[in-house]
Symmetry: C2
Subunit: 238 residues, 2 copies
């Protein structure tokens, strides 16, 4: 229940921050509980906070006027997120939807700025974290544009398994119950297309369902399909 990483779930937020710096961040944060279905912010809201997920899940999405929806990121335990592009006057361009009851740490950018000003080493680590987040977006960009919808789907399956997957022998279980629609929104495709692609993968014994959870049986096949470059799990994630 703190900003430090716990051994129970090795924090995915990449280990950019040292325990001491996590403590500093904790010192300026306050806890906040949000229930599933609520939103931390909407497009257009002022972007003046960072969020740290102590427990729960938050998705960053984008909605268009014509009803389409895009899921950019899924954040979970120990992830840090928020828009940090100008420490004043900036507004969010995405929505943050709480998809599981969550406990969050909230950091006001105003406070963060002072902290960064005082602690050069924290500032440097912050920069690394920002660079990493950017890189996640850039590599996803490549994956989703270059290899068609099947390639895009493979990319998110790989990313899901890197971020949340549980190794069970040769198989990887993705412990999120994702609907076809949700997967579709991650790759900018339709539910039906996703359904057909998954059916095809199932037929070829690449993936499998158990209890409505996705199991990846042949990740190599997925990697080949999206020309995976085996980048580290800190970058190839949701």
């Amino acid at each position: 229940m703190t900003l430090e990483s716990t051994s129970s779930h090795p924090h995915k937020n990449t280990g950019v921050f040292t325990p001491e710096n996590l403590m500093k961040l904790k010192s300026i944060s306050y806890e906040y509980s949000a229930s599933a279905g609520s939103y931390l912010y909407w497009e257009g809201d002022p972007a003046d906070k960072l969020f740290y997920i102590i427990e729960g899940q938050v998705r960053i999405t984008k909605a268009t006027d014509d009803g389409k929806q895009l899921t950019l990121y899924i954040f979970q335990n120990d992830d840090l997120f928020g828009q940090l592009d100008s420490l004043q006057d900036s507004t969010h361009s995405f929505n943050a939807e709480v998809t599981e009851d969550s406990i969050l740490g909230i950091i006001q950018l105003r406070d963060l700025e002072i902290l960064l000003w005082q602690h050069g080493d924290l500032a440097v680590e912050f920069m690394k974290w920002m660079g990493l987040m950017h890189r996640i977006t850039q590599t996803k960009f490549r994956d989703l544009l270059l290899f068609g919808k099947p390639g895009a789907l493979c990319s998110v399956l790989i990313r899901l398994s890197n971020s949340y997957g549980e190794q069970h022998g040769e198989h990887i279980l993705i412990p999120l119950r994702l609907t076809n629609t949700e997967l579709a929104e991650m790759i900018g495709a339709t539910r039906e297309s996703v359904n057909r692609m998954l059916a095809e993968f199932k037929k070829q014994d690449i993936i499998q369902y158990e209890d409505n959870l996705l199991i990846i049986k042949d990740i190599t096949y997925l990697r080949d399909l999206c020309h995976c470059e085996n980048c580290p799990g800190t970058i190839c994630r949701m």
Copy 2:
């Protein structure tokens, strides 16, 4: 010829940096000349520098094993770029191709780190700059995924006009001679598709060619097609 902005070309790199901080950056940079066709770095090279374009043009691209090519960014005068996600051990995931003879300022991350450590205000501005760069990528992501290839093309045309466009009365001239292939590589489409889309736009009097340069006559039409949200030019750029 300096890192300061000059009034001759109002620097597009967003004005995140104060003149004093630009001077600090300049103090740790050294000049480097690169000729058109050369590369500043390739995928896999260690990412240990930042680059500032004093004069010239550099494109950040990604090539895939099956011959496809993607152009992520086009940087010009006064733009700052480089991978900054870990101040050691990081490698580039993209290529930096010099597309016009260029004069660059190079900053070693090693030196930058010390500077950031010492100057909290510079660190804070740096963070803003990084956030801005990330946001450019994120908004492009949306544009290229949600509105088909025509929407993607409109998005890059708008971005090109925001970054490099010259207003001529009602028209906007894009002073880069871009081939159909180059445009295609910016949106993950084929040359032929781009050609047909441009032909269609020409027929509808949305765009026009003069001297092989693109002129946008009806940017509103383009904005509608990609559901433009009129974000500021610092974000909606190439």
